[in-house]
């Protein structure tokens, strides 16, 4: 195997499985707005700090008894937060090219007049040109409406 092909294989493997070990001392990110950091692994604990989405924290491990509480540190803020407030990757900000790269909030964009979701102009133009059935367009627009009506629960998915 040549050096070039070895590098290609290595690159493909790296693409397939990006390293994301979560070990004590590793970095994680806050995903929930106004995430409370408590002084103990208990919902009744005292709030020692409030973190925001995208904040990078050092993960110190799950509490031995209350496993849904995980110890985190960010600067002087040290304490426990719910596992569901943590994310493996820093959230990317979607940027609008037409506004010179201004960041957008997907939800805000969707609810603004710019999107009025229920499909973008490109999709509707294509549907018209291809004479896509009206009920299909309506169905997808309905699904978009349902999606917009669903809010993510801060306590995570699995109950």
């Amino acid at each position: 195997m040549t050096r070039a092909s070895s590098l290609l294989v290595a690159a493909c493997l790296a693409l397939a499985l990006p390293a994301l070990a979560v070990k004590p001392g590793g970095k994680l990110y806050i995903k929930t707005k106004d995430t409370k950091v408590l002084d103990k692994a208990d919902a009744k604990g005292k709030v020692v700090g409030t973190l925001q989405p995208g904040d990078e924290v050092v993960w110190q491990g799950a509490d031995a008894k209350e496993k849904q509480f995980h110890a985190v540190e960010m600067g002087k803020v040290k304490g426990f937060t719910l596992q569901s407030n943590l994310s493996p990757s820093k959230p990317q900000t979607e940027l609008l090219a037409r506004d010179n790269g201004a960041p957008i909030d997907g939800k805000a964009f969707a609810s603004s007049g710019a999107a009025t979701k229920a499909l973008n102009e490109a999709a509707l133009k294509a549907a018209g040109k291809k004479q896509t059935k009206a009920e299909l367009v309506k169905g997808l627009a309905t699904a978009e409406g349902v999606a917009a009506s669903v809010t993510v629960e801060s306590k995570g998915g699995a109950k």
Partner: protein
């Protein structure tokens, strides 16, 4: 020499008049005129090659948010149109909360209602943990007994009732959605889109004059030239012809070739991560992969053993973090699909 010039003319956009002049010159014995027309043909050929070389740049051009969501909506409709339809039954309560959709609820469907909302609750929870929580995520249920799931750029994820019927619990359902989220966050289809754009551009530039498709081809070549010189592309402002051309090309590519093995493995990895960080037991995803048809349902996928094997290192990576994870039972609305 004449044959070479004719071939050159065939690939040149505006060379046919030059070919006519050359033919007329040769017929009348006007050698100088024929040479001049030949030189004109050669110049046209070089111009065409230069334009086509520019088209190649589309392959690696990073799409803007507007372009990604623009092609995403068009491809979402395109892909959905190839299925047996969207599962749109919703409860009267939900319909009344979104009058803008103008959908009349179909009462009396019992537990079949609100399935789309259930899938969106799971999907949007997973997406909130992804690299792109700000995308306008839409999870769509398709009314098809064939188990399948796929995605379109910009945040569209489709899952069939057949796939919902084939999962054993909510963690497995989340695994399917997480895999598709991985394709979107990784912008995997956008790689194929770049190639589709380059191929379509090259073909439009080379399209011959005098064919029945000439008018459209010339129009598209002009539009592609504008896109080549544009700093950013917003497909919402493009012609319907161009959008249809690109969405057809991309949808064909995704259906026939899939995303490719590297991207499938990467999407599996993302699914695993999202399950863990959303509180779902990722072992359920492995169980699901193991029982899927080898090589995928409809679009090509890597073998199941390889997919499961690629996930093995993740268990060790997440061993400390993945505590107290669950595999809840499916909601009754999903269980109803299984009947």
């Amino acid at each position: 020499m004449k044959r070479t010039l004719i071939v050159a003319c065939m690939v040149a956009l505006s060379g046919c008049s030059a070919l006519n002049r050359m033919g007329n010159s040769l017929a009348s014995g006007n050698v100088r005129g024929a040479v001049s027309a030949g030189q004109e043909l050669e110049a046209e050929r070089k111009k065409l090659e230069a334009k086509q070389a520019k088209c190649k740049a589309f392959e690696n051009q990073k799409a803007t948010y507007e372009e990604e969501t623009g092609i995403g909506g068009a491809v979402a409709l395109n892909l959905a149109a190839r299925t047996s339809g969207i599962y749109i039954e919703i409860s009267p309560e939900l319909a009344s909360s979104m009058p803008q959709a103008g959908v009349k609820p179909k009462p009396g469907k019992g537990p079949k209602t609100d399935l789309t909302a259930y899938v969106n609750r799971i999907g949007k929870t997973l997406a909130a943990n992804s690299e792109r929580p700000g995308l306008d995520w839409t999870f769509v249920v398709l009314d098809s007994t064939t188990p399948n799931a796929f995605s379109a750029p910009g945040g569209y994820v489709f899952i069939t009732t057949g796939m919902i019927a084939s999962v054993e619990n909510e963690a497995q359902l989340a695994g399917v959605l997480g895999h598709e989220i991985g394709h979107v966050t990784g912008r995997h289809a956008m790689t194929a889109y770049g190639k589709t754009k380059a191929t379509s551009c090259t073909a439009a530039m080379a399209a011959g004059i005098g064919t029945s498709a000439a008018k459209d081809a010339v129009n598209l070549s002009g539009e592609f030239e504008l896109l080549l010189s544009a700093a950013n592309i917003d497909l919402n402002k493009a012609s319907a012809d161009l959008i249809v051309k690109l969405s057809d090309g991309l949808a064909d590519e995704l259906v026939s070739r899939g995303n490719g093995p590297e991207y499938e493995f990467a999407a599996d990895g993302v699914a695993y991560d999202l399950l863990v960080f959303s509180g779902y037991d990722p072992n359920e995803f492995e169980k699901l992969l193991a029982k899927l048809p080898d090589g995928g349902f409809l679009t090509p996928h890597p073998g199941n053993k390889d997919r499961v094997a690629k996930l093995a290192p993740r268990k060790a990576e997440f061993a400390d973090f993945a505590t107290g994870l669950k595999a809840p039972a499916l909601d009754p609305v999903a269980k109803a699909v299984k009947k």
